[in-house]
């Protein structure tokens, strides 16, 4: 009897955890503004010691916003996320989508604290991170993230 209860408890807790996980898929999180209130030189992009140099990583920034998607070899939702973001990019002028493999960009992965795949970092026209999403991304969430990018 105790064992049956144990199995039921494990199953119940697992279902709760799984539902929680699913509810967080692709949720848009606004990123902290790195320089706000620190230097007071908001427009200065010439000497940034923080943040990756996207051009060095082969990422061409789009005029309005760029989705930088970190994908992995063993990643179920990466494929669908890739397709979703491609569709949003095709629909939205000035938006780019770049997919990077975590195994090929370990420095970027550390620098940006990427812990899961897919992680989508949303950049503004200057390459500053505006928002990020982890897990499978829905078109609605991708557009929500784009709305956070200053025009």
């Amino acid at each position: 009897m105790v064992r049956v209860l144990l199995v039921v408890a494990i199953v119940a807790l697992t279902l709760v955890a799984g539902a929680w996980w699913r509810s967080r898929q692709g949720r848009v999180r606004q990123s902290a503004k790195p320089d706000a209130g620190r230097t007071g030189r908001a427009g200065d992009t010439g000497h940034r010691d923080k943040g990756p140099r996207w051009a060095d990583a082969g990422v061409d920034l789009a005029p309005r916003a760029t989705f930088v998607q970190f994908s992995a070899e063993f990643c179920g939702p990466c494929r669908t996320t890739s397709r979703t973001l491609d569709a949003v990019r095709a629909d939205t002028p000035g938006v780019g989508h770049v997919e990077l493999d975590v195994d090929r960009y370990p420095v970027l992965v550390r620098q940006l604290s990427v812990l899961r795949a897919p992680t989508v970092v949303v950049l503004d026209a200057h390459g500053h991170e505006v928002a990020r999403m982890t897990g499978a991304v829905q078109p609605r969430q991708a557009r929500e993230a784009l709305d956070l990018v200053p025009v």
């Binding site: 697992t14 279902l15 799984g18 996980w21 992995a72 070899e73 397709r83 997919e99 992965v109 812990l115």
Partner: protein, 157 residues
């Protein structure tokens, strides 16, 4: 048949051939039921032998891909003919990686079980049951979720 695909395709993401994503989830469902039975029988020799069967099934999935496990054959013969075609196909590599994780967890349980550590059988079955359930019900591959994290601890290069 679209359910069989080479496990390592070098093509562009999205153009690679895929497998029916419901196959691995059905496989995980059967595995979860077996693991629940292992837990119910914990402490008996039957639990150990059943866990061995689960571990061997994972080994088959590791060696040949999840689409070639006996559970997947059941899916293709009995379940899939009754379902509509899948909306999209899945990359076979993530579920195969999940089979590796399952093999490691249940394999350790079997080895320790045969070495006389009876509690290891129950613990391994419980851990594997959680992972298999998440896979079956939510399509969540726990091992894949941890893959990037593990890679950060031990970088590829």
């Amino acid at each position: 048949m679209t359910d069989t695909a080479p496990a390592s395709g070098a093509a562009q993401p999205g153009t690679r051939p895929g497998i029916d994503p419901r196959g691995p989830r059905f496989t995980a469902g059967i595995t979860a039921v077996l693991l629940a039975v292992v837990l119910l029988l914990a402490g008996t020799p039957a639990a150990l032998w059943l866990l061995l069967l689960v571990a061997l099934s994972f080994a088959l999935g590791v060696a040949r891909g999840v689409q070639h496990t006996w559970q997947s054959v059941l899916f293709r013969r009995l379940v899939r003919p009754r379902l509509a075609p899948p909306e999209e196909l899945e990359d076979p590599r993530p579920p195969r990686f999940a089979q590796v994780v399952g093999l490691v967890v249940t394999g350790v349980g079997v080895v320790l079980g045969f070495a006389g550590v009876a509690v290891a059988v129950a613990v391994a079955a419980a851990v594997a049951l959680v992972a298999a359930l998440l896979n079956a019900v939510f399509g969540l591959c726990l091992g894949c979720e941890l893959y990037v994290l593990l890679r950060r601890v031990r970088p590829a290069r």
